[in-house]
């Protein structure tokens, strides 16, 4: 079966692990549990009546002390840049990571995932900024790992982009 590696990158505590838990296992936990190293999951998806295995690499979140190890990204067909909408700094971190990832693995499809949409009252990123990025050709999906909103859409979008490249 066709398989594609997809990496989740972003600042710490943006919800990368929770998005995968929601997508792969249909579960969510309120408790924040940091990722050490990388956790790898697999899920079979359908696209245009074809089956595809997504190999999902959930990389530890970058912080000021620990940079993401770029060797984890080797062989990735796509990546998801995950942002916590309630923390503006995580969007800035995502911009930096996007440049680093592209330098490492070249231009491959990616989606900017604006997570924690269930906390929209607390968001620090305004709609104009998101619209600007959309106009620049970025694919952006708002998600909530807690409610499940947008989660399937993210993985469908990235699958479509990988297969149509």
């Amino acid at each position: 079966m066709l398989q594609k590696k997809v990496c989740m990158v972003g600042s710490f505590a943006t919800g990368k692990t929770s998005l995968i838990a929601r997508f792969v296992h249909s579960i969510f936990s309120e408790k924040y549990q940091t990722t050490v190293g990388v956790k790898i999951d697999k899920k079979t998806v359908n696209y245009n009546d074809k089956e595809l295995n997504l190999i999902l690499w959930d990389l530890y979140g970058e912080d000021e002390f620990q940079k993401v190890r770029m060797s984890y990204l080797r062989g990735s067909s796509a990546y998801l840049l995950v942002v916590d909408g309630t923390r503006r700094s995580t969007l800035e971190k995502a911009f930096n990571l996007q440049v680093k990832v592209e330098e490492t693995i070249g231009k491959v499809p990616f989606v900017l995932v604006m997570n924690k949409s269930d906390l929209s009252d607390e968001w620090e990123i305004d709609i104009d900024e998101i619209n600007d990025l959309t106009q620049r050709g970025w694919n952006i999906v708002k998600t909530s790992a807690k409610t499940g909103r947008g989660v399937e859409e993210v993985f469908q979008t990235i699958t479509k982009k990988m297969l149509e490249e």
Binding site: A13, I40, G75
Partner: protein, 133 residues
């Protein structure tokens, strides 16, 4: 290269085998698995078939092979089925070698520190937000 007496090397190898659940895979440049051994079951790896593509058998290796000349180190890699592993990949004339070493202790220690540090950072961010309002 550092010259070490044979008993020292033997002791170190025994220590590695006992404490870090050494396992290995040998993969041809076309992706076909050619040999394997060690404690692969600890990492959730089993039912291997010689000659079959490695990515189809060990899903976490999808996209990583074949290796260029430079060796690869992937620390603290974990799947649902197995324990946390340090993965070392290097090339030789026979093909690409994949070594797996138990990293559970390392993961547990780092996890405690990282969890504490991240929770502290989140609290500081929250306080800064409140003060800036």
């Amino acid at each position: 290269m550092l010259e070490l007496p044979t008993p020292v090397i033997s002791y170190l190898i025994a220590l590695l085998l006992e404490n870090r659940s050494l396992a290995y895979l040998l993969v041809q440049k076309d992706g076909a698995l050619s040999a394997w051994g060690g404690k692969l079951a600890a990492y959730g790896v089993g039912n291997l078939q010689k000659g079959r593509n490695i990515g189809q058998q060990v899903f976490f290796l999808e996209g990583l092979l074949p290796l260029d000349d430079v060796s690869l180190f992937l620390p603290r890699l974990k799947t649902e089925e197995g324990i946390c592993a340090d993965v070392h990949i290097f090339s030789s004339e026979e093909g690409d070698w994949v070594l797996l070493l138990d990293a559970t202790v390392d993961e547990m220690q780092l996890s405690l520190i990282q969890q504490h540090a991240n929770e502290l950072s989140l609290s500081q961010e929250k306080i800064s937000r409140v003060l800036n309002q």
